[in-house]
């Protein structure tokens, strides 16, 4: 039995920004078994061809994913998900169009869960008007400010590139610390949304180890907007190196995720002599302003995971070997 936390992704943003399109896109494109919790089925329409069974409070999807509502509260939805058979590998919560994503993200602190990221969608054509609307200006600004990953959707509807640049700069100002990514039809690469490595090694199947998966999905990561870098680690790393890496990630980094063995600070003086027993496995993550480093329990009966750090960056934002060199320089 794994004690790893189920990663939670919150999808927020004002009405019409493309949250439902994004959820459908994730359900279609991810290799993970995902449980989606929505405010109500009235607002969200899961693409019908994905649904294999529907009852009043639960939809079962072809790829093992399920979709529940908050009809009886979050606790009840979680119970329903846990009792639905195979446990999901990720929880996606779609906030209502007027919800404050920060409040929804609080559910990510339920024991057994871990907040991965708050993704907020903005409609490229409408967001300026909405952010100055008589009724919802404050609501929309609150939503934007809550983002780790701010998806500027329907960017293709703006007639020229300089307008898109202006818009993204302006949005970055409303959402300090968030990573701004552009998208059309909510087609954000899955690895950008959910991270370049699976959050848990439980996701790895012998046929598809994590890095291979990441490599396989890299083809659609790129899409001439993003590029990725991966460093495979053959030895534990000193904790301060990781801390320093996470502390000053350049703006161009969209997502970073790593599974590694770190040497606790006390014993770093003599890192060369460190025995395996002194190291702890950690999952490190960075998205927008949110960085985390959490102990990652490993199962002794299973082969050890591949230790590696991957990142996704805006294309051209980083020198080609930035990650490898950065680790070497700090080491």
């Amino acid at each position: 039995m794994s004690t790893q936390r189920l990663p939670v992704t919150v999808v927020g943003g004002y009405l019409g920004a493309g949250k439902t399109t994004l959820v459908n896109h994730v359900l279609r494109s991810s290799n993970e078994r995902i449980a989606v919790i929505v405010n109500d089925f009235g607002e969200v329409s899961i693409d019908e061809d994905l649904i294999v069974a529907a009852d009043s409070d639960k939809l079962t999807l072809a790829n093992g994913c399920i979709c529940c509502t908050l009809a009886d509260g979050f606790a009840a939805a979680l119970m329903q998900i846990r009792s639905a058979g195979t446990l999901p590998q990720r929880l996606l919560i779609e906030a209502s169009g007027v919800a404050d994503p920060t409040q929804i993200a609080a559910y990510g602190h339920t024991p057994g869960l871990g907040l991965d990221a708050v993704v907020v969608m903005a409609d490229a054509e409408q967001v300026r008007r909405q952010a100055n609307d008589r009724w919802v200006a404050d609501t929309v600004r609150l939503q934007l400010a809550a983002a780790d990953l701010l998806v500027v959707n329907k960017i293709d509807l703006l007639d020229d590139a300089s307008k898109a640049d202006d818009l993204c700069d302006w949005l970055a100002g409303l959402s300090p610390g968030a990573t701004v990514v552009r998208a059309s039809r909510a087609a954000v690469p899955i690895d950008v949304l959910l991270g370049p490595l699976p959050a848990s090694d439980a996701v790895d199947t012998p046929e598809r180890p994590a890095l291979e998966r990441a490599a396989a999905s890299r083809s659609h990561v790129v899409e001439n907007l993003f590029e990725s870098q991966t460093v495979v680690l053959d030895a534990p790393i000193a904790m301060p190196i990781i801390e320093s890496l996470l502390a000053d990630l350049p703006d161009g980094v969209v997502r970073l995720k790593g599974l590694l063995q770190a040497v606790p600070p006390a014993s770093t003086e003599d890192a060369s002599k460190t025995e395996a027993a002194d190291t702890t496995a950690y999952l490190i993550e960075a998205v927008g302003k949110r960085t985390s480093m959490t102990p990652h329990p490993t199962d002794a009966t299973q082969p050890p995971p591949r230790w590696a750090i991957s990142l996704i960056a805006h294309k051209g934002a980083l020198p080609p070997n930035w990650l490898a060199e950065g680790l070497a320089r700090r080491g």
Partner: protein, 559 residues
């Protein structure tokens, strides 16, 4: 035709009919479940074979009170121990004195724990209102002194917070490692047992789920109606359920209301918020379907929407200058629970299906958005006599009332707020000027808007004489008059709790006044509200009700 059937004449001290064409009578005659007539005993006797029942000879008979906004939850909560600040009578008629200090709360909990047979059973309590204990705070440490190892959960009156004891924290794994922002911490940095908002409260797991489940039982529905009978009510509107998709919940309502002894009629309003499985078109269809199957005691036809939060929780949408003295860190204004952009389309779905939309609007931004939506929809699809209603209507402005009158909208005003939170509204939420014009029955009346007043029970106790007392006197809990110019007369308040409430749920042809042919639903009072001192309105005793001709004596069990 002659006599419809053998009938009963009830002579009374006075019958107040709320029918302006025949305002008073000496007696009322009841044939089966209907009113045969009102007048003098001799006039009524001339209908034919009858029996005279003198049981109400010393009483005043009024139309049964109509509550157009409360919740069946008020029946379910009595499964848990009441620890609120104000006196409250349970559906069995037992008076629970208010807990006016933290010690009172603890004493009540200690007694409840002692009365529980099973040591492992969770102690559930409700109604705690810390706003009345400034400077003090009930935390797990206090609870532990009286509950020991028994898991305990106390739900606050606001519904947004719960306080649990250490035993329940242990059971739910809430300790210093908790990362949830919903877990409050004390000065020592450790969780103090307070759980905030749904994300925090859900950490209490089964205890919280059990408390909410109790609202779905048959027993909750009986208690809901018993409480109504004890307060003189004959109709309750359960304003906003998402559960009618569940055949068990629908059958539950059908079962209790088809029992001839069930002491209330119930209008069940449907809601598509908070996780209903419905899109508006489906919901409208179900509601129309249910309406076609309704009975005299179980009614449908209203759809409930919610636009904003509450004023005392600083979550209602209030226009500039917004809140007067909000708590530190407040975001500036309240929350939308439905996107304003969506309102017109939502209203349109139900409006076109011939249903009536009742929308929760506490703040004036919310009422403005709802009125705008109704106006747009009426332009697209003109329809007369829709009676779409602004619910709570607490900060609705005079210009909004004028628009409501022009559009044919009704208001259901939350008069009880004046008493229960009026002092807080003046001193903290909206400040003196706006507090003085809150819950503006006087303005509604002057604008020609049909209005009722409500308790929103369990938020405040059900009891229309108290609610009318609030609208008439506008006296706060501290005894001060808030906004004397918005006070209304006793006759106007009595109309608001009977015929006007019936009107906004479209039942005024059947109930709400005592007239030949209407359903025989009465509130039977120990004194005359029209001659009593207006300040004593809420103290008038209630014998009980008559529902469809069946006598329903109140249950009062003061030890």
């Amino acid at each position: 035709m002659g006599t419809p059937q053998p009938f009963v004449i009830y002579p009374a001290r006075r019958v107040i009919t709320i029918n302006p064409a025949f305002p008073f009578g000496e007696a009322v005659a009841v044939a089966g479940d209907r009113i045969l007539g009102v007048g003098s005993t001799d006039e009524l006797a001339s209908w034919g074979e009858h029996r005279i029942d003198d049981c109400f000879a010393e009483h005043v008979i009024m139309p049964g009170f109509v509550e157009a906004h409360c919740h069946v939850m008020s029946g379910g909560l009595w499964n848990s121990t009441y620890v609120g600040y104000f006196d409250r009578r349970d559906p069995q008629g037992q008076l629970w004195p208010g807990c006016t200090s933290i010690d009172d709360v603890l004493e009540r909990l200690a007694k409840a724990a002692a009365d529980m047979a099973d040591d492992s059973q969770t102690l559930l309590a409700w109604g705690l209102d810390p706003i009345y204990f400034p400077g003090e705070r009930l935390v797990a440490r206090h609870l532990d002194t009286v509950t020991g190892d028994r898991p305990t959960l106390v739900l606050h009156a606001s519904g947004h917070l719960a306080t649990i004891n250490s035993a329940l924290m242990d059971r739910c794994g809430i300790d210093e490692t908790a990362t949830s922002p919903g877990v409050a911490r004390g000065g020592d940095g450790l969780p103090n047992g307070e759980l905030h908002e749904p994300a925090g409260m859900m950490l209490a797991g089964d205890a919280f789920v059990d408390m909410m489940k109790a609202n779905r039982s048959e027993q909750a529905r009986w208690r809901y109606a018993n409480e109504a009978r004890n307060a003189g009510h004959t109709l309750l509107t359960d304003l906003g359920t998402t559960q009618l998709w569940d055949p068990d919940q629908l059958n539950n309502w059908k079962k209790v209301t088809s029992d001839p002894t069930y002491p209330a009629r119930v209008m069940v309003a449907m809601s598509n918020l908070f996780g209903s499985a419905a899109d508006p078109a489906e919901l409208a269809e179900l509601c129309v379907q249910l309406k076609s199957e309704q009975t005299d005691k179980l009614r449908f036809g209203i759809v409930k929407l919610i636009l904003d939060g509450s004023i005392q929780g600083f979550t209602a949408r209030i226009s500039w200058p917004h809140y007067y003295k909000p708590p530190p860190g407040h975001i500036g204004n309240g929350l939308w629970l439905t996107a304003p952009d969506q309102m017109a389309d939502l209203v349109e779905s139900y409006h076109r299906a011939g249903l009536t939309v009742h929308c929760h609007c506490n703040g004036d931004e919310a009422s403005e958005v709802f009125i705008d939506a109704v106006e747009q929809v009426l332009e697209r699809h003109p329809r007369w006599d829709h009676r779409h209603t602004v619910q709570h209507c607490q900060l609705t402005t005079p210009d909004q009332y004028r628009r409501m009158a022009a559009l044919g909208m009704c208001a259901n005003i939350f008069s009880n707020h004046i008493y229960y939170w009026g002092d807080q509204h003046r001193d903290a939420t909206v400040g003196p000027e706006r507090a003085a014009r809150m819950d503006a029955c006087g303005t509604a009346l002057a604008s020609g808007v049909s209005f009722s007043i409500h308790s929103d029970s369990p938020i405040t106790p059900l009891g229309h004489l108290h609610t009318a007392w609030c609208a008439v006197n506008r006296v706060t809990a501290s005894g001060q008059v808030l906004g004397p110019d918005e006070r209304i007369s006793v006759p106007d308040a009595l109309r608001a709790i009977t015929i006007e409430a019936a009107r906004q749920i479209k039942m005024d042809a059947e109930i709400g006044s005592i007239e030949a042919g209407k359903l025989a639903d009465f509130a039977v009072l120990e004194d005359d509200p029209l001659t009593a001192d207006p300040m004593a309105l809420r103290d008038i005793g209630i014998w009980g009700t008559v529902l469809g001709g069946v006598l329903q004596p109140a249950q009062i069990s003061d030890a």
